[in-house]
């Protein structure tokens, strides 16, 4: 039933993300009715580049948005009292905090993966010249794995910060990381952000194992840290 609770808790976030993605995808259909036209002569590859960058940004937003994990997600910072009481109801149940976290984080990870899979597949299929099934599967898989690094950090942040600050802190971290990877080769080599990119690692190139392994390791560390934080936390 923890899965059920996690789904009820997350479903509107998921619907919001699906709605946002659909809105972005459908934008080219309704923009012309407002008189907006793309300038003549823009190469299709350039338009696709924009679509791709937008998709990568959406991976990160989706991961951040769906990662309101841990019992802290039941808190609303009321004027004076601090924590919202439903957290106390959860903590009074005969369930370990580790299980509480893992179920909630697991469901969020599944939903994030589903969104990333659709986005990544769509993006690659839109590429001028198309893509083979193998390329799609390969790109979807590594996009999901690399997004899990973003997701797991958000889970960790959600264990120590309230939801608003979790979103800001994680976004700030990845912005700083993006700047760092353009200056330090070693960071660029293992960067999950580059792992998601079809420019850094085209779909028909060899699998970018360094970002994949680094993302998995980083996600694992963040998840373990989240469990430890939650187990030690006092309410």
């Amino acid at each position: 039933m923890l899965w059920y609770k996690a789904w009820l808790e997350t479903r509107w976030r998921f619907v919001f993300m699906v709605g946002s993605i659909l809105l972005i995808w459908l934008t080219p259909l309704w923009l012309p009715s407002f008189g907006f036209r793309l300038p003549q002569g823009v190469p299709a590859s350039k338009i696709w580049m924009g679509v791709h960058l937008g998709s990568v940004l959406l991976y990160i937003i989706a991961a951040n948005f769906l990662a309101g994990s841990g019992v802290n997600s039941q808190t609303t910072y009321a004027a004076a009292s601090g924590f919202h009481g439903s957290m106390f109801f959860t903590l009074s149940l005969p369930v370990s905090r580790r299980r509480l976290l893992l179920v909630r984080a697991g469901l969020g990870a599944l939903l994030t993966s589903a969104l990333v899979a659709v986005l990544a597949g769509y993006t690659l299929l839109q590429r001028p010249g198309g893509a083979s099934s193998f390329e799609v599967v390969e790109y979807v898989a590594r996009s999901i794995v690399c997004t899990m690094a973003v997701y797991a950090l958000s889970v960790l942040m959600a264990c120590v910060l309230d939801e608003m600050w979790q979103f800001y802190a994680t976004s700030f971290f990845w912005m700083a990381f993006y700047l760092a990877q353009s200056r330090l080769a070693v960071i660029a080599w293992i960067s999950p952000l580059r792992g998601m990119s079809l420019f850094s690692y085209p779909a028909n190139a060899p699998m970018p194992w360094a970002p994949i392994v680094a993302s998995l390791a980083f996600a694992g560390i963040c998840l373990c840290a989240s469990v430890l934080v939650l187990q030690r936390k006092e309410y």
Partner: protein, 297 residues
């Protein structure tokens, strides 16, 4: 001697170096209704959270149902047998009554459908009504249902009647008394409402500044404690303070008020030697016991 459902000893807890509990000793026997009284910030909620594993203690020990609660596993085992009603009565805002019941039911194999139906009928809780649309009284009722239908042996409640109107308060108290009488459920609840504690509790524990200052059977306490009022012709003599067996002394004008327990006769005899113009011995109410111990009035 009754089996202790809750037995805490030397329980201490500090927040940022400021002590909230100081070597608290607490015992709640099986089948009792125990009121946990104290001023704001006395340490009541901290104690309840420690019992439920929401906080970690700095020192001391906790036993629940005769088993030590010293790890997450033992805390989970204890929580399997406990129903909890929090002060705010907040439940999941993304569920309705029925979803909340089904969710909670899944964690308790001994869930009693008969009690679920009984209390749904009694409280007239609409299954499909969303939790945010429930009044505070209805949320209290739903929390009581969730606590009772799980077949809990112990109900821990943090100010269960706060925010309820008098009629609803009376209903809740009646339900608790019935529950203790019919199902043998032990009830341990914190409250500021001395009248309601006096109404349904057979045992009280008064806590002040993190320490239990008085605890025991309510009837025994009332029988044991006495107030001795001494009226003097002039200002009461200073020697009063040195009389043996005084729990608390206060003076107002020519009148001295002594709270004592045990051998009242001996105290009265000694007090008469100080020459009061009148001596009166009265029984005490819970309110007097509470105020004398926590306010030092």
């Amino acid at each position: 001697m009754n089996e202790m459902i809750i037995a805490a000893d030397g329980l201490s807890k500090s927040y940022d170096g400021k002590p909230a509990l100081r070597s608290l000793h607490l015992e709640v026997p099986r089948d009792s209704i125990c009121g946990f009284l104290g001023r704001n910030g006395a340490g009541k909620t901290t104690t309840l959270k420690l019992l439920l594993g929401m906080l970690r203690r700095d020192a001391g020990s906790i036993q629940m149902f005769g088993e030590p609660v010293d790890s997450e596993a033992s805390s989970i085992a204890a929580r399997q047998r406990v129903g909890f009603v929090s002060e705010d009565k907040d439940l999941y805002t993304f569920m309705n009554v029925d979803q909340t019941i089904r969710f909670t039911r899944a964690f308790f194999p001994a869930w009693r459908r008969d009690l679920e139906e009984k209390y749904l009928d009694l409280f007239q809780l609409p299954r499909k009504k969303a939790v945010p649309k429930l009044s505070k009284g209805m949320r209290t009722q739903l929390m009581l249902l969730l606590a009772m239908a799980r077949g809990a042996e112990l109900l821990i409640m943090d100010e269960p009647t706060s925010g309820l109107d008098p009629a609803m308060t009376e209903d809740v108290l009646q339900i608790l008394a019935d529950l203790a009488a019919s199902d043998g459920t032990t009830i341990f609840f914190s409250s500021h409402q001395l009248a309601e504690v006096e109404q349904i509790c057979d045992r009280v524990c008064i806590i002040d500044q993190g320490q239990a200052v008085i605890a025991g059977e309510l009837d025994d306490l009332k029988a044991d404690y006495r107030r001795v009022l001494l009226v003097f012709e002039g200002t009461p003599p200073h020697e009063l303070a040195s009389l043996p067996g005084i729990d608390h002394l206060s003076q107002r004008g020519r009148t001295a008020s002594l709270l004592t327990h045990g051998d009242v006769g001996a105290l009265v005899d000694r007090a008469r030697e100080l020459g009061p113009s009148s001596v009166e011995v009265r029984s005490v109410t819970l309110k007097e016991l509470f105020l004398d111990h926590v306010r030092g009035e």
